[in-house]
Amino acid sequence: MTKPILEVKDLAKYFGGVKALDGVTLEVPERGVIGLIGPNGSGKTTLFNVVTGFYVPTRGEVWYAGERIDGLNPNEVFLKGLVRTFQIPRLFPSLTVLENVLLTPPRQVGERVLTAPFRSKWEEQEKELARKAVALLRKFGLGEYVRARVSELSAAHMKMIETIRGLITDARVYLLDEPAAGVAYTTARELFTFIRRLRDEEGLTFFIIEHRLEVLMDFVDYVYVLHNGRLLSEGKPDEVMSDPKVIEAYIGR
């Protein structure tokens, strides 16, 4: 594997007596599509929450591109280049698809309250971003939805836009929380094909929580398995799927 872009070292997060994460060490290589699986309550989402700045870890470190990022706020983590999506797509319903994409670029001139009233100061930047956003949406076959409200989109399109909007920035790592949840089997496969395409064409890195193993396993390079806040197993998809410990954790005794 290539050098890791995201590293988690001995990460722990306790909620009172509950050890949601208890010493997890893993790494995500650049341009990898890496899976994170485990039964419910095994700590997957907690891991994402610590990595993206929602929780401060009880112990351990998170490194991104050679920089330590644990303890930063979620907005600061995003500005470093990590994009996170949610199980239920969280686009902004009162904005159009274009505006959802336009919101993403950081530090826009027109987002400062003192420059916002003076259109000439940010007009060019805004138009440039709009052209980029339209090009991006067209590239992934969503050009016709530029003016659409988010509520008019299908779940799969919402999930795609959640990921695409990161492309307008120079974000490199995407943490996806159950991208295939709530969509049909074929749509789920399309979404994962789309993820692979983004990796191949744009050089992005993906770290994906997914319960639908039948979909996930066909598309990922490497899988980590969490159980009770600890790493239970790791390896290539077929290795993990034949690991008796994993089977036991999933099916139970």
């Binding site: 706020n73 995003f78 009162s94 159009t96 309250v113 916002a116 940010w122 440039e128 709009a130 052209r131």
Partner: protein, 355 residues
């Protein structure tokens, strides 16, 4: 029908109240309509502006003319009446200083007061501000240097040096409407900008906005600074118009009146806030003007006003849930760029078909 009804006088009086309340409604709309922050303590910032103007002007006039009496004593009020209109430069200077300080101080109080509550959710923010408004009123009710329950009077009107009171009022309504125009211009500009887009994103989903790299607490504090500052300016304008202030002008009902304006006009639309303010202040003024002529004493205009406002809100919410002027999509130059791109691709597309 109503022989003593002075139509022009009515317009001037309505225009002044409309201007002051529309500034408040636009500022509340920025907070609640665009950013989703339930400010139930709007009246506090209005009161801060009014009391700042009142105290600054009465103490300044007494100090300049070396009057030893306190402004809330009989001698003080007499001295204020005597020296009030003596110097145009002083009156206008006090007015200008009050406006600037009113904006800054009310804004800073809003910023400081709300910053610690921003992280605990919208309900807490609303309740904290509501409580602050009441605390401030009760404090003023008992604080002697600011006149306690009697308040402060004899605030020199900025145009007091003009002998004709009618002309004075007409000039003042222009000033008030001028401030409304600036407020509305600013609010419309920031609404239709990338900043406005961030505000709506924060309103829709705070957590998602945070994940998109937006500094949500700072955005909210900024909006509360601006909104509170605008309310402070409205308070300054009110103090100079009424020439006196007292704590009971700033009861929580004032806040809810402003909310009614925003709901009636249309949440998330600045022009709607002005329309809402216009309707409610119209009802208020017309009742105040007409009632003395009708000779009815059983029902005071106050009760009738609340009933009319209540009925209006119910009707509007039943038939036009978005308000009279519903929220509009954000207009930024991005759409111009999109349109020209769409035109290009359409031309390109049809050319391809022909070939």
């Amino acid at each position: 029908m109503l022989p003593s009804f002075d139509a022009f006088g009515f317009l001037v009086s309505w225009g002044t109240f409309l201007g002051i309340y529309a500034i408040l409604a636009v500022s509340l709309n920025l907070e609640v309509g665009l950013t989703g922050m339930a400010n139930f303590g709007k009246v506090a910032f209005y009161g801060i502006g009014a009391y700042l103007a009142a105290s600054l002007s009465v103490y300044a006039v007494l100090a300049v003319y070396h009057v030893a009496a306190a402004p809330y004593t009989t001698e003080g009020i007499i001295a204020l009446g005597k020296y009030g209109g003596a110097s145009p430069a002083l009156d206008l200077g006090i007015f200008a200083a009050s406006l600037v300080l009113g904006f800054i101080i009310a804004g800073c109080v809003g910023y400081l007061l709300t910053y610690p509550t921003l992280r605990v959710g919208p309900a807490f923010l609303g309740i904290t501000l509501l409580a602050f408004g009441e605390l401030l009123r009760i404090f003023l009710l008992n604080y002697q240097p600011l006149g306690a329950s009697k308040g402060l009077s004899g605030i020199p009107h900025p145009f007091l040096w003009i002998p004709d009171p009618v002309l004075r009022e007409r000039l003042y309504v222009l000033v008030v409407l001028g401030f409304l125009a600036v407020t509305l211009w600013f609010a419309e500009r920031i609404t239709n900008s990338p900043f406005g887009r961030v505000l709506k994103a924060v309103r829709d989903d705070e957590v998602a906005a945070l994940c998109m790299g937006k500094h949500v607490p700072r955005v909210k504090a900024t909006v509360l600074f601006i909104g509170s500052g605008m309310a402070g300016v409205a308070g300054v304008l009110l103090a100079f118009y009424m020439s006196s202030v007292n704590p009971n002008m700033f009861v929580p009902a004032v806040t809810f009146n402003i909310w009614a304006m925003v709901i009636l006009g249309g949440m998330g639309n600045n022009k709607g806030a002005v329309v809402g303010a216009a309707i409610i202040t119209f009802v208020d003024r017309i009742l105040t003007f007409i009632t003395p002529n009708l000779g009815i004493t059983i029902i005071t205009p106050d009760y009738v006003r609340w009933m009319i406002v209540g009925i209006l809100i119910v009707l509007v919410l039943m038939f036009m849930p978005g308000g009279l002027v519903p929220e509009k999509p954000i207009k930024t130059p991005a759409w111009e760029a999109v349109e020209s791109l769409e035109k290009e691709s359409k031309e390109g597309g049809s050319g391809g078909d022909e070939a």
